[in-house]
Symmetry: D2
Subunit: 286 residues, 4 copies
C-alpha cells in the first residue's frame, strides 16, 4: 500500500469537545479518518481514543505530522499519547523455557505475515528450544538463571533485548517471574500468557487446580506483565469446555491450543495499537 496512515492512542481527563478537536485537527492537516473509536470511563472521568487516519505525503512528512499530533494532544488536550506509523514493523523478543507451542505459533505467524511484527530473537533459561530456533534461523540465547537474586541474569536479558532493538517482549510460557526492576528497566511492554482463566487459578499448575475444583470450562489469559505475577492488565481471555471425560493430560492438551490462540490474539491487538492500559485494566479497540 502506497498511502501511509497514522494510528494514535490517547487517554486523559475527559472534557467537552475532545472528539471535535481531534477530528478537527486531523481535518485541518489534510488527514482522512479511517477509524475513530472513543471510550469513556464514567467513574474515573477518563477519555480514551484510538484514531487511525490516512495522511498524504512521504515518510518524512507523515512522521512530522504524527509528531505534531502527539505534541498537540499532550499540550493542548492534556492527553497521554502514543503514535505509530503504518509502515513501521515492531520487533519482538521472546522469553521461553521448555514448552515449544507458543513460540512456534508466534514464529510461524510472524513469518507468514499474520502478525504485524518481526520476531527478532529468543532468550531462554533452558536449552530445549535452541534446535527449533536454529532450524528457522532465529537467534537464540541461553541465559542461566541465578537463583534468589536474579538481578545479573535479568541484566543479561535486558542487554540482549537492547542489542536486538526489541519493541515488545513476549513471555511464551516462560517459567520465571520478572522483577519490577526488569520491567522498569526494559521500559517496553511485556505480554505474558497464563494458562488459566484469571483470576481463577493463579500461580503454578493451573490445570491441576482446575481439575481438582471440577470446573466445566478451562481458560487462558494474556496480560501485560506486572511485578506481582498473574496480576497485570488483562488483554485477552478465552475458554474451552471440559468434562469428567478429560484427564489432567487432556486439559493440558486442550489448554495448549487455547494458550497459543489467546497469546497470538493479544500480540496482534497490541501490535495493531489497539490496547490502552490504565488502572490495571485495558481498553481494547477491536
Amino acid at each position: 500500500m502506497d498511502t501511509l496512515s497514522i494510528v494514535a492512542l490517547l487517554y486523559g481527563p475527559d472534557q467537552r469537545g475532545l472528539v471535535a478537536r481531534v477530528a478537527g485537527w486531523i481535518f485541518d492537516n489534510e488527514g482522512n479518518i479511517l477509524h475513530a473509536d472513543q471510550h469513556r470511563d464514567p467513574e474515573e472521568n477518563i477519555f480514551f481514543q484510538r484514531v487511525e487516519w490516512i495522511q498524504p505525503g512521504n515518510i518524512a512528512t507523515v512522521r512530522r505530522v504524527a509528531d505534531a499530533f502527539a505534541i498537540m494532544a499532550r499540550e493542548k488536550l492534556g492527553m497521554t499519547v502514543r503514535v505509530a506509523l503504518s509502515h513501521e514493523v515492531p520487533r519482538i523478543g521472546a522469553l521461553v523455557s521448555k514448552v515449544p507451542h507458543c513460540l512456534q505459533d508466534i514464529a510461524y505467524k510472524s513469518k507468514r505475515g499474520e502478525i504485524r511484527g518481526e520476531l527478532a530473537c529468543v532468550v531462554s533459561n533452558q536449552t530445549e528450544l535452541q534446535a527449533f530456533c536454529a532450524s528457522i534461523s532465529l537467534p537464540f540465547h541461553h541465559v542461566e538463571p541465578q537463583g534468589c537474586d536474579n538481578r545479573g541474569a535479568e541484566d543479561a536479558l535486558l542487554e540482549i533485548f537492547r542489542l536486538y532493538k526489541v519493541d515488545l517482549i513476549i513471555m511464551a510460557r516462560y517459567t520465571q517471574v520478572l522483577s519490577s526492576h526488569f520491567l522498569q528497566s526494559a521500559s517496553i511492554p511485556v505480554i505474558s500468557i497464563h494458562h488459566s482463566f484469571l483470576p481463577a487459578f493463579p500461580g503454578g499448575r493451573p490445570y491441576q487446580q482446575a481439575y481438582s475444583r471440577g470446573v466445566k470450562l478451562i481458560g487462558a489469559t494474556a496480560h501485560y506483565a506486572a511485578p506481582s505475577a498473574d496480576k497485570g492488565p488483562i488483554i485477552a481471555q478465552d475458554v474451552v469446555r471440559i468434562s469428567q471425560r478429560h484427564s489432567i493430560a487432556d486439559l493440558i492438551e486442550k489448554g495448549r491450543d487455547l494458550e497459543q490462540l489467546v497469546l497470538a490474539q493479544a500480540v496482534r491487538l497490541h501490535l495493531e495499537n489497539r490496547v490502552l492500559s490504565y488502572n490495571n485494566r485495558t481498553v481494547v479497540f477491536d
Copy 2:
C-alpha cells in the same frame, strides 16, 4: 435520570471531515458526546455513525436540537439519519402462533425493564397464547389467516398495530411469511427469529434439517423481515454445540433457549438504536 440524551444513527457517502463536522456541530450546540462510533464500508465508500450525547435543557428544547441535528445531517452532510431521545419508550407489537417461549421471554423482559420498550399488544393466527396474555393483562387479538390471498388478514394486522401506535413489530415464532405489501405498508421495522444458523437451513423444520446433515452446532438467527423469507439483514446469531447424543427433540429444546436469547439480543440492540441496515446487511454498534 434528569439529564436528557440524544442518539443519532446516520449513514451516507463518505467524505473527508465527517467526524469533525458532526462532533463540531454537537459541541457548538452545547452537547457533550458520550459515545461516537464510526464505521466505513471501504468497498461501497459508505460512512456509518452512531453518536450519543448529553444535551442540556428540557424535553422540548432537546427535541428541537435533535430535529435540528437531523436536518443538518441530511442537508449539509448528505446522510440518511434517525434520531431518538433517551426518555422516549418505543412500543412493541408481537406476532405469535402457538409456541410460547419467545413471547413469554420478551413479555417478562419488558415488564422487568430489561429491554427499553413496552410490549403493547399481541396478535396471533392461533388462540393458544390468549390465556397467557390475559394472565398478565396484555391485549391479545386473534386474526384468522385467509389462505392464498392473505391481504385481508394482513390489513387487519396493520390496523391493530396502528391502533396500538406500535414502533416495532416482533415475529416471535410466527408461522406465516409477511408479504412485501405488509412490510411496506407497516413502514416500521419488523424483527423475526429463525431457528437455524442462516443461511444454513432456511425454510421449514430447520432442526430436522440440521439433524439429517449431522452438523455439530445448531444456531438461531434474528433478522429484519424481508419479502423473501429468511433473507433479511441479520442482526444477531448464536450457536450451541450438539452431538449424536441429541435427538431432534433435544435439538428443539436446546434451540428454544437459543432462539429466545438471540431474539432478545436483537430486540435490545434495535431498541437502543444500535442497528443500521443497508444492502441487506447490518452495522451493529454494540
Copy 3:
C-alpha cells in the same frame, strides 16, 4: 409413552467386569439398554455409571425391578446407587429473594414441560415476588430471616418443603447462605446459581469484582449447595464476552440471561438423573 424405563446412577470402587455384570443383570431381567455411560476416576479408582433401560411391565412390576437392581448394585457390586422411573415427576421448591428472572424462567419452563419437574412452591425472605406467584397460582410463603442465629427460620423452610413433598430445592438468586444444619436436615439436593465463573469472584457483588479486575469474559456457575458458600460441586458453567464498552449495569444485564440459562441447564441435568457428585466434583452424563 406407554413403555416404562428406569435410570440408575451408580458409583463405587472400580473392579474388573462391572460393565458386564450390570448389562448382564438387565439382560437377564428382560430389560433393553437405551444408554449406558461409564466413567472412571483413575486416580481415585472409582467407577461411575448411568444406565437407562426399557423395562417391560406395568408400574408396579417396573418399580420392583428397579428396587431389585438397586439392591443387587449395592450388595453384589458395592456401589452407591440411585434409581428413578421415567413416569415419576419430581417436585421442586424454590428459594428466592427479590430478583425475579431465574424464578420466572424455571416457572415457565416447568409449565411448558421443558424441564422434567413440577414447581410446587416458592419460599422467600422478601415479599416482592408474591404477586408474580399469585398470577400463576403458585404457592408462595414468606419466611422472615432472623439475623445471626437463623435456625428458627431455617426450620420453617424445612417444614414448608416437607409439606409440599419437595424432591429438589433451587436457590434462584436467594441471598442467604444455608447452614450445614439445613442442608443435612433437608436431605434432598439443593442447587444454587452463583453469578460468576467460580472460583473467580466468589461472595458478594461478583459483577463489580469482574469489572474492577478487567476480565474479558463474565460467567455463571450452578452448583450443589455446600455449607461453605460458593464451594459446592459445580454442575454447569458458561461465560459471555464483555469489553470496556460494558458498564457494571451492562454486566448485570448480560449476566441475568446467563444465570437463568446455566441454572435451567443444571436443573434439567439433575432432573434427568445425569449428575453424580463425589469429592466436591460432579460427573455429568450429558
Copy 4:
C-alpha cells in the same frame, strides 16, 4: 506405558443384550474395560459402540485377542468393526496447495506428540511449501494437476501414499476436489477442512460469501471427503464471532486460526478412534 490396550469401534443392527455380550466377552478374555460408550440411532435402529480395554500380555498375544474380538463382533453380533492397538502409530499423508498454516500446525503437533500419528509425507499441486518441508526434513512431492481428466495425477498421488504406507490422508487446504475413483482406490479415510460453517457457504471463496451475506459468526468444518465436494460426514465444527469492523481480510485471518484448530481436532478424534461414520453423518465418542 507398558500395559497394552485395545480400542474397538463397532456398529450394526441393534438387538437386546449387545452391551452385555461385548462386556462379557472382554471379561472372559481377561480384559479390563477403561471406557465403553454406546450410542443408538433410534430411527435407523443402529447400535454404535466404542470400547477401550486394557489387555494383559505382549504385543503378539494382544494382537490375537484384538483379532478374535473383531471376528466375534462380526460373526456373532453382526457388527461392522474396526480394532486398533494402543502402541501402533498411524501414518499420515498430507495434500496441500499454497496455504501453509494447516500443514505447519499438523506438522508441529505431530512432532510434539500432540496428535497420535506421524506425518509421513506431503504431496502438493504447487511448490510453495517445499522449502518448509525441507526445513523439517519432511518428504515433499510435487504432482502437477492435469486439467479435466485428472486420473493420471490422482494415480500418482495414490502411488506416493502407498509408498509411504499412509493410513490417513489430510487435505490441509488442498484446492482440488478428489474424484470418487481416487477415494475408492485409496480405501483409507480422507479428512478435509472447509473454511465455512457447512452447509452454509459451500464451494469457493466462503469468507467472501459470509461477508456478503452479513453473518455474525464465521465457521470452519472438518469432514471426511466425499465424491461431491463439501458434502461428506462432518467430524468437527466451530465458529468465531465477527462484526462489521472486520473486512474480508480480517475474516480470512480469523478463519485461519479456526481452520487449523478444527482440522487438528478432527484429526485427533480420528486418530484416537473416536469417530464412526454412517449415512453421511458421524458418531463422535469424545
